[in-house]
Amino acid sequence: MATTHEHTKPDQGADYLEDTPTDLYAEGGPTSDSVDGGAVYTAGGGDWDDIAKDVATLGAERIVVNMGPQHPSTHGVLRLILELDGETVREARAGIGYLHTGIEKNMEFRTWVQGTTFCTRMDYLTPIFNETAYCLSIEKLLGITDQIPQRASDIRVLMMELNRIGSHLIALATGGMELGATTVMTIGFRERERTLRFFEAVSGLRMNNAYVRPGGVAQDVLPEHLDQLEEELPALRRGIGELEKLLLESPVLKGRTVDVGYLSLANCMALGVTGPILRSTGLPHDLRKAQPYCGYETYDFDVITRREMDAYSRICIRLDEIWQSIRIAEQAIARLRASQGDPVMVADKKIAWPAQMSVGADGQGNSLDHIRTIMGESMESLIHHFKLVTEGFRVPPGQAYAAVESPKGELGVHAVSDGGTRPYRVHFRDPSFNNLQAASAMSEGSLVADVIVAVASIDPVMGGVDR
């Protein structure tokens, strides 16, 4: 954390600042005495001059604090530039980009299917949502949305809802840790592990699953996976109950979160904020209900809303949404038991991945049966496999937008195809990226400590923000 004390003579202005040689790393840090009325800046970005000029005109007692990019309370590499007047935040700006990995650009150089392995790493707490949104956009471009097997959609729903539980638990866990409650953190991570164990059993990976593929999913969910999940569910319920008891009536938590991070409905609309923040204003907007995908319209669940518009109500919403997710997951489990053996990949063999993946002794790979067929029995199958895997399928030219309700809000994918085997352009409208814009509106005028709570209630994940 870098702190800048600002004591500028009002008549000197910006020219004076530029002429003053400053030692940024002087022993003991800069104080007003050591520089005799001058200004010392520890700058972290190229636009610092502008901030400095602004600060210089404001008077003497303002302090600019750089919180982050590495700070335990900022959800990864988020940098908050706070202008403080005593303990009060006068201006807050978020600086992002520290985790930019060029995923969108990289995807343009891989096949459509390979794109899932990239986009799953964006918001690393919601991999299944990233993959599903991406695959839905491809399926829209291909025009095969209504040919996705029912079982594949049910698996997607089950995986997404478990992923929602995991993401919400991390939001609560890290949020609690930021307030100093490490037990909240350990319970949250412990319970999330139950969902990850199911992911690992089904896809071979805990995170970054690359499990949802264009046309369906990478491999079937077996009855033993469902057994394992059903064994975990009572424990998961108990753990979430524990978390509720620990959090909801805690006077410390309520003292820190009630009426903090206020954002009204009008603000949400103006800033395009979606997800639990929007639902904390009382608007029951949830794409699962409002614009259903993957067959959500056939599931029975409620959209959780509150009216308090503060950080506390968002905690309540996340907890209640976990219960709703369990409700959906149970329905999905029942459907998957009934449809065991149905296809989980689109029937179109020019698009469908030629084999189901399987987890063998040496890790995940093509199923041995499939390898036996293509290597020993059918030359055409081998050619077909080779063509699909190396060259990929072609997607008709055009553009499409598909959106899913991720735990953080609307995750939209704008996919453009030029008719080739690679995406021409894929843009992800990550909810964290958009919602983080509200950090300023939520925290300006409040205390420094409330900034942490406000940001935690947004639940930004920098992997998704910066992509």
Binding site: K105, Q147, M345, D369, E380, G419
Partner: protein, 277 residues
């Protein structure tokens, strides 16, 4: 391909038993067609983008680019895979009324709310894959976007961001800014606005004044594509460092990367690998 070989087992047979031998390999691998399939992907698979989906407007398809390469062409009898590729990239052309769904209502309401900007600025209405796209001239963007938000018949309250697309071969309209709007009032209606600007004069008016949510999205598009959103309150880079040269997601900006050696073989950088498009 010879007949009589065993048909590949697809993923839809979990018991891994090959189906009864009734068809040739080609037939087995042909895309299935159903009533509901509104886009036939067969042509796309075989003509490398030189076709538009079967369902599109009566207007002429728009040529976005031309694909050329050694591989990828597979029409005709050449089975070497080295057919050579030379095909236009065709996007769906203008749609004709009725557009279907809520699209007519939205377009009518927009015309009624901003008749002059509608007449002068709306270049094309495209309905494709169940989505409404309005191609708008940049000079009239603001005049059309404000009623889009404020008019009670439209009420697209939320802008879910702008996404840049670079079509280097579209002379005079190389850079596209694609906006997506969402109306919650009317039950999640969506409309897309596609605005272009030439590479030599990459200016598009900022809509941050109407949709503050677009602040960071426009900064990202400036950062990645170099589109200058005029009137934006602070158009600075957002993801790349402030002193970064160039705009990384443009097509003329190289991906970079180095060849990797693995067990004696060298795998070239991703942008140097063979492309089948």
């Amino acid at each position: 391909m010879s007949e009589g070989d065993k048909v590949s087992t697809g993923p839809e047979t979990p018991d891994k038993q090959p189906p009864a031998q009734t068809t040739t390999q080609d037939e087995a691998n042909a895309p299935s067609r159903s009533e509901g399939q509104n886009v036939d992907t067969t042509t796309a698979q075989e003509s490398a983008g030189g076709s538009v989906p079967a369902v599109h407007g009566p207007g002429d398809p728009v040529t976005m680019a031309r694909k050329q390469g050694m591989f990828g062409g597979s029409l005709g009898g050449d089975t070497s895979g080295y057919g050579g590729l030379d095909a236009p990239v065709l996007f769906p052309g203008a749609a004709e009324r009725p557009y279907g769904s809520y699209f007519d209502e939205v377009v009518d309401a927009l015309e009624a709310a901003a008749p002059r900007a509608f007449a002068d600025g709306l270049e094309r209405v495209v309905v494709d894959r169940g989505e409404l796209t309005l191609h708008v001239h940049r000079d009239h963007l603001l005049a059309l976007v404000r009623p889009l938000r404020d008019d009670p018949r439209l009420r697209f309250e939320v802008c879910t961001g702008v996404s840049g697309v670079h079509w280097p071969e579209q002379t005079g309209a190389e850079l596209h800014a694609v906006y997506h709007f969402q109306s919650i009032t009317h039950g999640v209606r969506r409309v897309r606005i596609d605005v272009t600007c030439p590479d030599g004069d990459p200016r598009i008016p900022s809509i941050v004044g109407v949709y503050p949510a677009n602040d960071w999205h426009e900064r990202e598009t400036w950062d990645m594509f170099g589109i200058v959103f005029e009137g934006h309150p602070g158009l600075t880079r957002i993801l790349m460092p402030d002193d970064w040269p160039g705009h990384p997601q443009r097509k003329d900006y190289p991906l970079g990367g180095i060849p990797v050696e693995y067990k004696g073989a060298t795998i070239p950088a991703p942008d140097q690998r063979r492309s089948y498009t």
